[in-house]
Amino acid sequence: MSVTQNMQVPREKEPWLEPGHTYASVTDKIASAVLTRPLGIGWLAGFALTFSIVMMLFGACAWLFTKGVGIWGINIPVGWGFAIVNFVWWIGIGHAGTLISAILFLLNQQWRTSINRFAEAMTLFAVACAGLFPLLHTGRPWMAYYMMPYPSTMGIWPQFRSPLIWDVFAVSTYGTVSLIFWFVGLLPDLATLRDRAKTKWQQVIFGMLSMGWRGSARHWRRYQVAYLLLAGLATPLVLSVHTVVSFDFAVGIVPGWHTTIFPPYFVAGAIYSGFAMVLTLAIPMRAAYGMEDFITRRHLEQMAKVMLATGLIVAYGYFIEFFLAFYSQNKFDFFMTEQRLHGPYRWFYYALILCNILTPQLLWIKKVRRNIAALFVISLVINTGMWLERFVIVVISLTRDFMPSAWGRYSATVWDYATFIGTLGLFTMLMFLFVRGLPAIAISEMRELVHQESHGSEGHQ
């Protein structure tokens, strides 16, 4: 109903929280999802399905370790295939969470409050999925520890000029920081759950997890300082991670990889796909757990706007790639660009343009931005588009580089698909567990929101 109101009186600011909520009501609503709400058939079914997909993932990995990466479609010249495509894709998705929590926090955007928690969870799970691939794709995964700097009896160390080593540090740092950021945010809510727990074991578990948080003024003070600092640190970190990932390509000399535009447009792309994934998850979840009050249409619209903006940056990136190829007249880049349009994989490129550039333009229309079904579909399209982008960059560039005599092609095998779908399953399964095991929305921050909405004071520190 608030929506209609707003249609009539657009000037009046639409609230981030449907009116009529008290500290207790928000707390009840969110906490009950974890503590009291019975396991629905839908949840059970979904979990069972995703769980079996995860089992398939394990199977695929076992077979991979037994036989070697040769079970995949990779070859010479295309040494990287699905594995790296998926890695970059997942890492990209993993950007939204921390971005929302950190940057929007610094920018003092209240609308982050109701989505940051599960966006962060999503980040963690996405990074976990991403982290699998670099390990799986090596020829000798059991030797992967060579990439760690440790005093070996061989007296040799990692080779720090390699972007892959940068990846190791960037991704593991990002994973760690996201985790602690998430946990710190959870502390007060865990305390809430502890105090509202119905059974002894719930009490003990949440009691231990909450570390005895009791909300004392001094604690809150240090807590806020630490949280602010984390946000401040996470912000450049988010930007750096995908920059480093883009270096995997930009530092290589392969035409189609070796370009300076990569870092910015990889980051933009990451945020782009991240928000798309948040929508993909938020829309069904708010419906399933009746949280329309907390995640309002205004939230969704806000995210749509971010997607539109980042989408345009990505589009600009594509354009610049073309422009540079033509402007520099570097014959290799020129040929590569030309390949994208006419080469054997041209359809991937066309599909990419459709998904990432054309479709999102619909978001200029307010009606679309506020139409939940439409948003859901568009978010899916963008997720697909971003996967295609990585495929275009990784595979097409490799198929035809400097030596025509060594040109080749790539096509994925059943094992490639099994691994990719497997990680999708893993991701969703973890999300299922999350929404049941922990508060999907930051309760204490919601209480703050109630406080502010009631006092009409925007912003807080």
């Binding site: 009896t153 007296g155 502890r194 009490q203 005895g212």
Partner: protein, 226 residues
Amino acid sequence: MLKRNADMAQIFHRSANFIARASLLGGALLAGAALTAVLVLARSPYITNERVTRTQPVQFSHKHHVGDDGIDCRYCHTSVESSAYAGIPPTRTCMNCHSVLFNNVGYLEIIRESYRADESIQWTKVHRLADYVYFNHGIHINKGIGCSSCHGSVNQMPLILQASPLNMNWCLDCHRNPQANLRPKDQIFNMDWKAPANQEEVGRQLAAEYKLRTTVELTSCSTCHR
């Protein structure tokens, strides 16, 4: 007046505080300790087999043959100067003496049998390098590295054992600073050689004399790996 409250809200006993903190700290320390342990283990004889003796078909004593009898290394390890492989003596070499000396003692029956039946003796390997390491005895001998620098004072060993860790770090130590171990040509096979006080400059002179390659060359990967 004051309300007495039953301690319902309290979940944990106060000892839980200590337990919680201790377990966190302990966990961290334990992880660190485990990691250190692995690194130490990798350098321990358990992995390197340093100073490990092996049971051999014949309890051959280098102490006796080298120390007491003063037989030269090259009498048995014939190709040590010329080839990558020092060479394990064929049974015939043993029989050169033992067809006359101790030619009826029981513990040498294996040798005699091997010779009669023309079947090799299976010695258990003591110094083992990985397949992808291409060590060449010849060049080390020719460039002034003595046997005992790596094999220890064999003339003191009743049962031969591996005197050095033989891991890459150990190889590198010498390849980075060979001067410390260079000897005059006539000392190569001297098991009791000790580095003189002025080894530093002696080493430098010898290095020049032997036209030793630079450290950069000696530590290039393909020097040992192909």
